[in-house]
Symmetry: C3
Subunit: 155 residues, 3 copies
């Protein structure tokens, strides 16, 4: 990590920038999906939100929990728990100056695994499809963390 200044200018950093942006956009997409389900199924978390749709009955009964909405929210939460570590460790990894091919492999496998994870979650695909997608993403991040700690440990 001695030449880190030069590293930030490289193709590895551009690749990180591209894949991090794509996977963050994928994570952000979960918010509109949640809103879509909330509005079309009339399932709200706050009483004032019922004002967003046309309701003639008692508004209080639309402040409720729905399995489809909760599924999207669990998927979103899993994204937060996995994509945020990827972005942090991926940035530090990119600054250690890895081979471009090795870096691309990590970034592509991780981002691919998260798209598969989302499809498996939202479509309720049989396990272990979602579990495998999650584990592949986890190990990709561990592999990058390993390089960061072995290249530049400073305790």
């Amino acid at each position: 990590m001695a030449d880190v200044v030069h590293m930030i200018d490289t193709e590895v950093f551009l690749a990180f920038s591209t894949y991090a942006t794509i996977v963050i956009l994928k994570m952000m997409l979960m918010s509109p999906i949640t809103s879509y389900f909330r509005l079309t199924k009339k399932v709200f978390a706050n009483l004032e939100d019922t004002g967003l749709v046309k309701i003639t009955e008692d508004r209080k009964k639309f402040v409720r929990v729905d399995p489809d909405v909760e599924r999207v929210r669990r998927c979103h939460q899993n994204d937060l728990e996995n994509i945020v570590p990827f972005v942090v460790i991926g940035l530090l990894y990119a600054l250690t100056g890895p081979d471009l091919s090795s870096a691309l492999l990590h970034f592509r496998v991780f981002v691919g695994s998260r798209f598969i994870h989302t499809v498996a979650y939202l479509m309720s695909l049989p396990q272990p499809s979602r579990a495998l997608a999650w584990i592949v993403g986890l190990f990709t991040t561990f592999s990058m963390a390993h390089r960061v700690l072995t290249t530049a440990l400073f305790l």
Copy 2:
């Protein structure tokens, strides 16, 4: 993004640093607000936490759910889901060397929208106030992501 090394030294980066810190501090503020409601309303998530206040009755009945506490927690969760993407994409955006005026516009609109979002959420303001604040923040981040991907796509 070729001159990224020089970019990290600019006013755009200083502006990002300032606004990112302010909006992260705003997000962190949700934790003490949650604690304040938990302690004053005696609403706890863990049995051992009831030891933090003076209680003469059965402690187990204070491990419960309260609408005010849940509201702060939902606001905090929405911050995590929106502010974290802003910070990641905003950092990469700052490194693409945008105009200072354009960057300041993005940062100010986003941070402003999140303060409005928090006020709208905690005070239960009528919709669509909170929905609009959320959407403005979302599109600001999308706009920065668009620049990152068009300036420096490397797949």
Copy 3:
């Protein structure tokens, strides 16, 4: 923050990189712990997940909530709410060029406080052990944010 380009190459940045990676790995560890409890206690959030274990009874009754699983999830959530701000503000702080000893103090106290927090949470240690660990981490991040805003405010 004028010499930020040179700062990214220093021991302070290496120290940030090391401690950020360690504390992010600690946070990621919460996911496998949650999975471990879900599989061993047969407590699932999705019906399709019951296919991961051998069950002869009606699968629907294993889609349920369990206090031990919820405890791990709350600990994980608290990590997200505190470690993500540390990483963002810690990165910006490292770029302001603080003394190495001062930076190490911040990073070590924060990471130490989060390990203590996790142990206190998972073992249900009597309060205020967990509350103190949380507050120490919070103030460490506030202290770094203070330096970022006083060194390089650009509104």
